[in-house]
């Protein structure tokens, strides 16, 4: 029972950055923009998050620094792809290359430094409940934020007028523009939101997951988040399931070692990446009838005037 509790806690922790980054990207892609720079925004978020928390001793300020860093990078992406109509795939790659460099530059001074990790919730009476106590009432704030975030996105997309407009823009920007909706403005806001989520997801790693900063600590999580959006068929509900599944796969490697499974550790570490490939193939195959992706995803839009 205690082992199961430990595993669930570990899975939740490993899933949270994926859920945060993928939630933001889901909204961005629903608006018709493919931002492949999630990994870059995450890794800069991690460096800035750590820097902020290290300088002030506050997890909250660290998280805000991470969000701001992600938003700043996403604005560069928006300027390029929306302002200058540059190919989104190439710009996303550029964002990741830049992000890795910037993160290394910022983080260089912090390697070896430690901070205290984000405090976990403690509610007397509830957190001490057996089994469910720690799982439901003993997480760090990020876990609750990630769940609130995807619920809010789901509500926004399907229950509000603005969400409807955003989806319309993602499916057909020409018609939406003709109806008078500000396509580029709404896309810019969506991209900034996605950047903030990716920055927060990155900041989670040094603020709550480990108490230190290592260059390259996102280790492809941004790319896995992108795959998760495909896995979820752009639906928020499935995104939650997907994120926790992937979190579970990445935790497997840690516990497999503990159980003395006789496979090389590198093979276990490769599991999340291999799982991503398998999932992408399976999902794409079952969807051969017609793609569920937003119809305008990744296409350039230049308003006619």
């Amino acid at each position: 029972m205690e082992l199961l509790e430990a595993i669930i806690l570990a899975v939740l922790a490993a899933s949270t950055p994926l859920l945060l980054a993928a939630s933001g990207e889901l909204l961005v892609e629903r608006a018709g923009v493919l931002n492949l720079g999630v990994e870059g925004m995450m890794i800069v978020g991690a460096a800035c998050g750590f820097a902020g928390a290290w300088a002030t001793g506050s997890t909250l300020i660290g998280a805000l620094c991470g969000i701001l860093a992600g938003v700043a990078l996403s604005l560069v992406f928006a300027l390029m792809t929306l302002g200058l109509a540059v190919n989104q795939v190439a710009t996303g790659l550029a964002l990741t290359i830049l992000g890795v460099g910037v993160s290394g530059l910022i983080g260089a001074g912090f390697v070896g430094e430690r901070i205290s990790t984000a405090p976990r919730l403690y509610i007397p009476g509830l957190t001490t409940l057996p089994f469910v106590g720690k799982i439901l009432f003993g997480e760090d704030g990020f876990v609750y934020v990630s769940i609130a975030l995807i619920l809010a996105i789901s509500y926004f997309l399907y229950r509000t007028r603005a969400g409807l407009v955003l989806r319309a823009i993602g499916d057909n920007h020409v018609s939406a523009h003709a109806l008078g909706y500000p396509v580029l403005k709404i896309r810019t806001l969506a991209v900034m939101f996605g950047g903030g989520c990716a920055g927060l997801a990155g900041a989670y790693l040094p603020l709550a997951y480990t108490p230190f900063f290592v260059p390259g600590m996102t280790a492809g999580r941004g790319w896995i988040a992108l795959a998760l959006v495909v896995f979820a068929s752009w639906l928020p509900g499935r995104l939650v399931i997907g994120a926790y599944l992937f979190g579970a796969v990445s935790i497997l490697q840690l516990h497999a070692q503990g159980w003395g499974v006789g496979v090389p550790s590198q093979l276990m570490s490769a599991l999340p990446y291999l799982a991503t490939v398998v999932v992408l193939v399976l999902i794409s195959r079952t969807r051969s009838g017609g793609s569920t992706a937003p119809a305008a995803l990744g296409t350039v839009f230049v308003p006619d005037r």
Partner: protein, 363 residues
């Protein structure tokens, strides 16, 4: 004030030619500002970065040594990008090529194997790179899976495979427990072009590949097909060109070139297999491909330029204690400017003042 794009009636050839130069200029300005922010003299830093490496023979050879893998990989990538498919896992194909070729070097180590070893290693490296690249291509063609994500995931897998081999089965027993294979035998090593120099056969191979690609793209039907499928998929369908076949072909070629670059790198400048054999060649090659305008000769020039950033970055670290990561920042910024300037080929930028807009509305 508002930024508005206006489609040009026709592509601007003038800007197409000078846009890489504008991009480099803007990057240098941005870097100067960045150097000032981190408290270094920008003139001195730029000098160490871009001029000093060009002033002695050793650095010039090193430039060609670093440019060779970049050019090889970027040529392959440019074929993919021309066909409008996105292989961004060249780093993984590079590593797998290095691993596959090294297998032979490890197996024949200490035996008196003949001169066939090195050619066989290169063949294995290219073959392994091609097969590794065919995984995302096949997943795309057969299942419609994103080649971007699949090829990228395989980079991490290749990295871990290399790590496993050099820490486990292939580790040099006499290597003081370092994760590395034994030094390759002379027959498994890429020969130097000059005695005592750094320049090796790989640089010549890269040149041959540039010429081959120029012929393929400029003079053959296959090259024409690649360009048509990328530029006008609908026309290509009417022309009876199979885009699926071209996805497989361009991925296989680019994987083979990346794999070849990988084995040449370990059998040449590095001399043994170990983690960290690539300072990100596979990703930097993406920038080389774009900066070179997806054109073989352009890629050759762009490859030399980006090789300069690697060497300049190392020298700036030694001489001015500038963190090595500045090279990646530099490369990222450069790619941004290259892409932004390319936008000017198709569009004209106009600034619209709000007052005028209001006046327009009133009229």
């Amino acid at each position: 004030m508002q930024l508005v794009l206006e489609k040009r009636a026709e592509r601007s050839t003038v800007i197409a030619l000078i846009s890489p130069l504008i991009a480099i200029g803007l990057t240098i300005v941005t870097m100067s500002i960045l150097f000032m922010i981190i408290g270094k003299n920008p003139i001195a830093a730029l000098n160490v970065y871009f001029i000093t490496p060009l002033t002695d023979a050793y650095s010039l050879q090193e430039l060609a040594v670093k440019a060779a893998p970049l050019v090889m990989i970027a040529i392959g990538l440019s074929l993919c990008y021309l066909a409008n498919v996105w292989n961004i896992g060249a780093e993984g194909q590079f590593l797998v090529g290095a691993v596959a070729g090294s297998w032979l070097a490890v197996k024949t180590h200490g035996t008196d194997a003949g001169a066939w070893v090195l050619p066989a290693m290169m063949l294995l490296g290219a073959l392994a790179g091609a097969l590794y690249a065919l995984i995302p291509a096949f997943c795309k063609v057969r299942f419609g899976a994103s080649e971007i994500l699949v090829s990228l995931m395989l980079v991490y897998v290749a990295d871990l495979l290399l790590d496993y081999l050099v820490r486990g089965p292939w580790r040099d027993p006499a290597g003081f427990n370092f994760p590395t294979t034994a030094e390759f035998d002379p027959v498994a090593t890429v020969p130097l072009l000059f005695e005592g120099g750094r320049l090796h056969l790989g640089a010549l191979i890269a040149l041959v590949i540039v010429i081959g690609a120029a012929i393929l793209l400029g003079r053959t039907i296959k090259g024409f097909e690649i360009r048509v499928v990328g530029a006008a998929p609908r026309a290509a369908r009417f022309g009876g060109f199979s885009s699926n076949q071209l996805v497989l072909l361009t991925f296989a070629i680019s994987g083979a070139l990346a794999g070849l670059a990988g084995i040449i790198e370990v059998a040449g400048p590095v001399g043994h297999l170990q983690p960290g054999i690539s300072p990100g060649y596979g990703f930097t090659a993406i920038i080389v491909a774009f900066l070179g305008r997806l054109n073989p000769v352009g890629i050759l020039i762009a490859g030399l330029f980006l090789a300069l950033t690697f060497i300049g970055g190392e020298q700036a670290q030694i001489a001015m204690k500038i963190p090595l990561d500045i090279t990646k920042v530099f490369q990222g910024i450069l790619l941004f400017y290259v892409l932004a300037c390319d936008s000017l080929i198709l569009y004209r930028i106009r600034l619209i003042m709000p007052q005028r807009k209001a006046a327009d509305g009133a009229a």
